[in-house]
Amino acid sequence: MSKNKTEIAPQLKEDLLHQFEATIDSFEAKESPFFVEKRKKAYEEFKLLGFPDNTLESWRKTNLKPFLERAYDIEYLPAKTTSPKESIFQCDINQFDTDLYTMLNGEWIEGANGVTTYDNGTIVANLSIAKLAFPDLFKAHYGECVINERNGLIALNSALYQEGYFIYVPDNVEHNTNLQMVNIINSEQSIFTNTRNLVILGKNAKLKLVHCDDSINNNSSFINNVTEICLQEGADLDLYKLQNKDDEAIVMTSTFIRQAKDSNLSSNTIVLNGGLIRNDTHVSLNGRGANADVMGLYLVDRKQIVDNHVYISHNVSNCSSKQVFKGIVDDQAHSIFNGHTMVKQDAQQTIAFQNNNNIQLTTKSKIDTHPFLEIYADDVKCSHGATVGQLDMEAMFYLMQRGICERNARMLLMSAFVRQIINEIALPTMRASVDELVQKRLKGELSACEQCSIQCIDPDKPIHFDIDISKI
C-alpha cells in the first residue's frame, strides 16, 4: 500500500471519528473498561485503515466509494418503537416454527429488559444488556476472534457498535426451538448502523439459528454488521442467513467463527435481493476433527452487487471444510466470489473442498470468481473448481421438444441448478419456503415487489404455463 494513496469517503470517516469522540463518554458511563479499551483500540485502527478501497486485494472488485459517498445519518438514534413487532415485520416463511427476535434499524425491540432465558439455560439477549449481565462470558469470548486489521469496516464496528444479539447455549444443551433473528431496516432517513452479535455454543451444545436481513422501504441504508461465533468442543451450529433487501440497501457482514475440537458448522447464506451485499466469513478451525461447511446461493439482477468472501483457516490436523457457492446473475448485476482455503503447516490430513458455479444470463452482467488455495502442509487433499456458463442448450432442447415452453424450461433448469444448495437446508419448513422464494425470485415475482418502488415487473402481464415443479 503506498503511503500517499487517496482515501475514499474522507468526510464520512471524519464524521464517524467525531461521532466516536462524541459518544465515548457515554460508553465509558455505561460499559466496563474492558469494553471501552477495546473500543478505543479499534478507533485507532479505523483511523489508520479508513474504509477499504480497491487497492486492497480483497476489495479490488467491490468499489465502496459510490456507496459511501451517499449522505448517511450516522447519529441516527431510533426512538423506542411502541408498535407491536407483528405490524413491522411478517416473516415470509409460513408456519416457520421459530422463536422470533426482531431488531429494527439496528435496535433491539424485544421486551423491556432485553433478556430471555430458556428453561435449559439458553440465553437470548440484547447485546448491550447482556454485556452488563454476563461479564464473565463476554470476558472469555468477546473480541476473541474478530480481526480488526482485516479492514476498516470491522474496526469501525468494533469501535462504534451499539446493539445486536447475544446467544448463549450452555454445555450439553440441545436447544430444540429454532432461533430466528431478524434485522429490519425501516426508516425515512438513510441510516448507517453498526450492529454486533455474539453467539456462544458450549461443549456439545446444538443450535439452529436463522439470521434474516430485511428492509421495508426503499431508502438507502448501510448496515455494517460483525458477528462473532464461538463453537466449543463438539458444538454443532446450523446457521442460515437470508438476505432479502431493497435495491438501495448496503449490507456488509463480517462473521468470525472459531471452532474447537470436533465442532461442526453448517452455514448457508441465501441472497435474494439487495443493492450491495458483502458477506465476509472467516472460519478458524482450531481443534482436531472440526468441520465447516460454508454454502451459499445468490440470485441477483438489475444493478445489484453481491460479494461473498470466505476464508477458512485450517490451523490443526484432521479438520475438513467445504465451500459451495452457486449463483445466477442477470441484467447488469455483478457477483463476486472469493474463497480462500488456508492450510497451515501443522494441518496434516486436511480435507478441503471449494466450488463455485455460476450461470450468467446477460451480456451486461459480470461474474468474478477467485477460488484460492494456500497450502503449507503436504498430507492433504484439497481441490477446488469454478465454472461460469449458461444453461445447457441440449437440456433446453430436450425440455422444449417435450412441449415445455422456453420460459418454463429455463425455470426448470435454473431451479435444478440451485437445488443443491437448497437441499442442504436442514429445516423442512424453511427449505420449502426458501424453495418457494427462490422460485418466485427466478420468475421475477419478488416477494418484496409489492413494496418495491421500481415496479420492474409488469403487473399487467399474465404469467402463463405456471407449472408445479414438484410434480415433474
Binding site: 503447516q345 496434516q348 450468467q360 446477460t362 452482467s365 461474474i367 497450502i375 503436504d378 492433504v380 477446488h384
Partner: protein, 482 residues
C-alpha cells in the same frame, strides 16, 4: 517408506547445479547504476535511431514513477537497481565470417552446455541464435531462412536492418508502462531475438535461442519480438542456464508475440537459471513479461514452459485473443526446491468471438520452496462463445513447502463457458505401494509418478526440447525424486 522419502527428498538439496561454471570471455561493460545517461549510452553503443532512444527514455521516465509490485506470493529481497551493470557485450574482435572465427572459449561454453554450433548446424537442423549476455554473437542458418524470407536475427541487427518492422511492433503487446519490470526492460534492454515469418510461410526449422547470463553482476534485459504474418507458422524454442553466482542477478525480459490472421506461434521454453544454493543464497530473480497477441482471426499462440530454475520466478505468459476463433494455450511444469519461490501462471484475455483457451499447469514443490499458480481468465462482453478450460494441479513433496493456487475468473458474457479445476495433494501411498510391490525402488517410483504427472505438459514440447526438459526435471529432483 516415510523414512526413504525423507532421505530421497533430503538428497535433492545436495544435488549440485550442473551447469554452474563461469567462462572467461572478455566483456565490454559499462559502469554500474542507472540514470538517463546510462540509457542514452546503451542506445548510443548500439547505434540506435532516434525513435528508439525516445522509446527508451519514455520508458525510463515511466519506470521512475512506478513502484515494485508486491502482490505476488513472493518474498523478494530489496533490489538495488543502482548496483547493476545495465550493459555488457562480449567484445567483438572483428566481423565473423565462419565458425572458425568464433571465440574458442565461447565455442567451449556452448560445448559444455551441449550446444555445439557446428553440430547443431549440421545434424539437428535447428537454427540457433546464441545469446551470450546481451549481444548475439553468432546466427546460424540465416541463409536458409533468408531464402524463405524469414527474418531471424539479433534484436540490434533487426533495429539496423528492419527498423520499420521493429518500430511497428515493439511495445505493441507489452506497452512500456505495462508493469514495473517491463518498464525497466523497455528502458535498458540490451539485445535479444527478432523473428519475422512472412505471409504464408511455415518455418522449415525450429528456431531456438540459448540465453546465458555470463558476466558477474550483469542483469540481463532481453527483448524478444516474434511476428507471424498471415498464415505463417513458427515454433520457437528458448532455453536458459546460468553459471553459479553468490549474488542475486536480475533478469527482467520481455517477450512479445504477434500472430496475424491464420498465423501460429508455438513458443517453448526450458528455464534453468541458477536457483541459488541449498541455503537459499544466490540465484536468479526471473521477472519476465511474456505476452502474445492473437491479432487476426483463427490465429494461435501456444506457450509451453518447464521452469526448474531461478531463486524467484515471476512470470505469467499470456494471450490476448483478439481475433475471432483465435486460440491460446498455456502448458507449464514448475518445479521448486530448497528455498526457491515461484509465482507463475497465465492470463487469457478473450476479446474475439469463438475464442478458445486452455491452461494446464503442474506445480511440484519440494524442500522449503513455495510454488504458486496465479492466473486470470477474462471474458469480454463481446467475446461470444468464448471457451476456457483451466487445470492446475500441485504436488507437494515435503511438509515444509507450500503450494498455492490463485485463479481469477472474470466473465462478462453469457455465452462464455469457463471451467477451472485444481487439486493439491502429495504422492499417494497407494501409488507408491503399487510401484514398489512391482519391484521398483522408492526413488524410481517417485520419479515415475512425477514424470507421469508432468507428462501432459512435456508432451507438448518439441522433440529436441522434451529430452532436455526431462533431463532438467531429473536434475532438479533426481538422486532424489525424479
Amino acid at each position: 517408506m516415510a523414512k526413504d522419502e525423507h532421505k530421497i527428498i533430503g538428497e535433492v538439496t545436495t544435488t549440485d547445479y550442473k551447469y554452474g561454471f563461469v567462462s572467461d570471455i572478455e566483456t565490454d561493460s559499462i559502469s554500474m547504476g542507472l540514470n538517463e545517461d546510462v540509457v542514452r549510452l546503451i542506445s548510443q553503443k548500439k547505434n540506435e535511431p532516434e525513435w528508439l532512444l525516445k522509446f527508451r527514455l519514455k520508458a525510463y521516465r515511466k519506470w521512475l514513477s512506478m513502484t515494485e509490485p508486491n502482490w505476488a506470493h513472493l518474498k523478494i529481497p530489496e533490489i538495488n537497481f543502482q548496483d547493476i551493470i545495465y550493459y555488457a557485450a562480449p567484445k567483438k574482435k572483428k566481423e565473423l565470417q565462419s565458425m572458425d572465427e568464433v571465440d574458442p572459449e565461447l565455442v567451449d561454453t556452448f560445448n559444455k552446455l551441449g550446444i555445439s554450433l557446428e553440430e547443431q548446424k549440421v545434424l539437428s537442423g535447428v537454427a540457433v541464435d546464441a545469446v551470450i549476455d546481451s549481444v548475439s554473437v553468432k546466427t546460424t542458418f540465416s541463409d536458409t531462412l533468408a531464402e524463405k524470407g524469414i527474418i531471424f536475427m539479433s534484436f540490434s541487427e533487426a533495429v539496423q536492418q528492419h527498423p520499420e518492422l521493429v518500430k511497428k511492433y515493439l511495445g505493441s503487446v507489452v506497452p512500456i508502462g505495462d508493469n514495473y519490470f517491463a518498464a525497466l526492460n523497455s528502458a535498458v534492454f540490451s539485445d535479444g531475438s527478432f523473428c519475422y515469418i512472412p505471409k504464408g510461410v511455415r518455418s522449415p526449422v525450429e528456431l531456438s535461442t540459448y540465453f546465458r547470463i555470463n558476466a558477474a553482476n550483469t542483469g540481463q534485459f532481453e527483448r524478444t519480438l516474434i511476428i507471424a504474418d498471415e498464415g505463417a507458422y513458427v515454433s520457437y524454442l528458448e532455453g536458459c542456464t546460468a553459471p553459479q553466482r553468490d549474488e542475486n542477478q536480475l533478469h527482467a525480459a520481455i517477450v512479445e508475440i504477434i500472430a496475424h490472421k491464420d498465423g501460429e506461434v508455438k513458443y517453448s521454453t526450458v528455464q534453468n537459471w541458477y536457483p541459488g544454493n541449498k541455503e537459499g543464497k544466490g540465484g536468479i530473480f526471473n521477472f519476465v513479461t511474456k505476452r502474445g497477441l492473437c491479432e487476426g482471426d483463427r490465429s494461435k499462440i501456444s506457450w509451453t514452459q518447464v521452469e526448474t530454475g531461478s531463486a524467484i520466478t515471476w512470470k505469467y505468459p499470456s494471450c490476448i485473443l483478439k481475433g475471432d476463433n483465435s486460440v491460446g494455450e498455456f502448458y507449464s511444469v514448475a518445479v521448486t526446491n530448497n528455498y526457491q519461490q515461484a509465482d507463475t501462471g497465465s492470463k487469457m484475455i478473450h476479446l474475439g468471438k469463438n475464442t478458445r483457451s486452455t491452461i494446464i499447469s503442474k506445480g511440484i514443490s519440494a524442500g522449503k520452496s513455495h510454488n504458486s499458480y496465479r492466473g486470470l481468465v477474462k471474458v469480454n462482453a463481446k467475446a461470444d462463445n468464448a471457451r476456457n478450460f483451466s487445470q492446475c494441479d500441485s504436488l507437494l513433496l515435503s511438509d515444509t513447502c507450500g503450494a498455492h493456487t490463485f485463479p481469477y475468473i472474470e466473465t462478462s458474457n453469457p455465452t462464455a463457458i469457463v471451467e477451472h479445476e485444481a487439486t493439491t495433494s502429495k504422492i499417494s501411498d497407494a501409488q507408491l505401494f503399487y510401484c514398489q510391490q512391482r519391484g521398483i525402488s522408492p526413488e524410481k517410483s517417485i520419479a515415475l509418478i512425477v514424470n507421469g504427472y508432468a507428462k501432459e505438459v512435456l508432451n507438448k514440447l518439441p522433440m529436441e526440447f522434451a529430452v532436455e526438459a526431462q533431463k532438467l526435471l531429473s536434475i532438479s529432483l533426481e538422486n532424489s525424486v525424479g
